[in-house]
Amino acid sequence: MSYKLQFAELLPYWNVLLYGLVFTIVLTIVSTVAGVAVGTAGAAARTFGPTWLGRIVAVYVELIRNTPFIVQLFFIFFGLPALGLKLSETTAAFLAMVINLGAYSTEIIRAGIEAVPKGHIEAGLSLAMTKWEVLRHIVLNQAFRKIYPALSSQIIIVMLGSAVVSQISAEDLTYAANYIASRNFRNFEVYLFVALAYLVLAMLTRSALRALGRVIFKAR
C-alpha cells in the first residue's frame, strides 16, 4: 500500500474550487437567513395564528421532514417544469435549501415559543399589548435564546447537506470536486481536500454562530 499524494494536481483548478467554496458559503448564508425567517413565520403561525393557517404550516413541516432532501431538490428542479415552472440550477438549489431549513426551523422555533411561560404572555396582554406585539417583544427573544444552540446545529447540518445540490449541477463545492476528479482522476486528493474544506467550514460556521449569539443575546 503505497500511494503518493499529489495535491499539486489540484492547483490548476484553484478557481473552480474557490467558486464552489464561495457558492456553498453564499448558499448557506442566504438559506440560513431566509430559512430562519420562514421558520419564524411558520412557528408564529402555528402558535399564535389562526387554526387553519397552523394546519397548513403543519402539513408543510411534515412533508419536508419526512422526505429526503434530494427528492425535494429533484422535485423542484425536475418536477416543477411539468407545471411550467422552470428554474435554473442555482435558483432551484437556493429554493430547496430555504424550504428545507424553513421546515426544520419552524419546529425548533415553535418548541422555543412553547417553552415561554404562559404567564409572560398574559402579562404582556394585560399591559394592553396585542398578541403580535407580545410575540415580537416578549416571546421571540426568549424563544430564540433557548433554541439558539439547536438552531445552530441545524444550520450546520443544512450546510453539509447542501452538497446534494451538486446533483442538479448547481456549482457548489462538491460540484467542483466532481468536476475536477472527472478531469484529473485524482479522486483521493480531490475528495480529501474537499472533505477538509467542509470540516473547516463547519467549524468556522459554528464559531461564527456562537459569536453572533453572544452579540445578539449579550444581556446577562
Binding site: E122, A123, S126, L127, E133, I138, Q142
Partner: protein
C-alpha cells in the same frame, strides 16, 4: 356610578361551571379583597374582568367598556385595567426599567426618554430607584413583584387587579409588597385583590367579598364581616385561615 360593574356572570370550562352568577359593584377608590377556598373561582373572576377569560353570560363593564363582547376593544380595556400576578411574570430578557418601559413605548407610543422618566417615577414609588438597570434574575422575589406592580402602574390604570400577589413570596418578603399596595390604596387607586392575607384584607380593604362555589357568598365591610360572619361557610373559612 360604579367603575366596575359585574352582573350575573356565568362562566364554564367545558362542563365545569366555575362562576355561577356573580354580581359585584366596585366604585372608584374601592379596595376590594376577594377571599375564598381554592377553586372557588376567584382567579377566574379577576381574569374575566380584563378579558383574559371569556364568559358565557351576564355582563362586565369596566370603566365604561363592556367586556366580553365580540367587538370589545381589549387594548383600550387593558390600558385602564392593569393586572399583577402571583408569579410576577417579569420579562427575563429586560431590565427592571425596560420591563416598565415596554408597554408605554409599544402601546402608548411614548418616546424612549419619556418612557424612561415614567419608569424612574413608578420604580421610585415602589422603592426600587436603585434597581432600574437590574435584570429580574438579580432581584429578590419581593423586588420582582414590586417591579411588576410598577410595570402595571406605568400604564396609569384606573383599576389594578392583583391575584394573590404575595403567595409566591417567602414570608419575610410579603410585607414589602403589601406596603406598596397599601400606599396605592391610600392614594386612591381602585384595587381588586384576591388574597389570603386576612389581616391585610381587614385593615386595608374597603370591601370584602367571600366567594364560595362560584358565587359571591357574602360581602360587606371587612371589619364587620370578619367580626360577625353570617354564613357558616365563611365562619368556617375564617376559623381555618384567620
Amino acid at each position: 356610578m360604579s367603575l366596575v360593574s359585574i352582573r350575573d356572570v356565568r362562566k364554564s370550562f367545558g362542563q365545569n361551571e366555575v362562576l355561577k352568577g356573580v354580581s359585584l359593584d366596585i366604585a372608584k377608590g374601592d379596595v376590594v379583597a376577594i377571599i375564598g377556598r381554592s377553586g372557588s373561582g376567584k382567579s377566574t373572576l379577576l381574569r374575566c374582568i380584563n378579558g383574559l377569560e371569556t364568559y358565557q353570560s351576564g355582563s362586565i363593564v369596566a370603566d365604561g367598556i363592556e367586556v366580553g363582547g365580540a367587538t370589545t376593544n381589549l387594548r383600550e380595556l387593558r390600558r385602564h385595567v392593569g393586572m399583577v400576578f402571583q408569579q410576577f411574570n417579569l420579562f427575563p430578557h429586560l431590565t427592571a426599567a425596560e420591563n416598565v418601559m415596554l408597554a408605554p413605548t409599544v402601546v402608548n407610543k411614548v418616546s424612549k426618554a419619556e418612557a424612561r422618566a415614567i419608569a424612574a417615577e413608578v420604580l421610585a414609588k415602589v422603592g426600587l430607584s436603585e434597581k432600574m438597570d437590574a435584570y429580574p434574575s438579580e432581584l429578590s422575589g419581593g423586588q420582582q413583584q414590586r417591579v411588576a406592580i410598577a410595570r402595571s402602574l406605568a400604564m396609569r390604570p384606573k383599576v389594578l387587579l392583583c391575584d394573590e400577589i404575595t403567595s409566591a413570596l417567602d414570608p419575610e418578603l410579603v410585607n414589602e409588597v403589601l406596603r406598596v399596595v397599601e400606599q396605592l390604596a391610600r392614594e386612591g387607586m381602585t384595587l381588586i385583590l384576591v388574597t389570603h392575607e386576612m389581616r391585610f384584607a381587614r385593615d386595608v380593604g374597603t370591601k370584602l367579598v367571600f366567594m364560595h362555589h362560584g358565587k359571591v357568598h357574602e360581602e360587606g365591610v371587612p371589619k364587620e364581616v370578619f367580626a360577625a360572619p353570617r354564613t357558616p361557610e365563611l365562619q368556617q373559612f375564617v376559623g381555618q385561615v384567620g
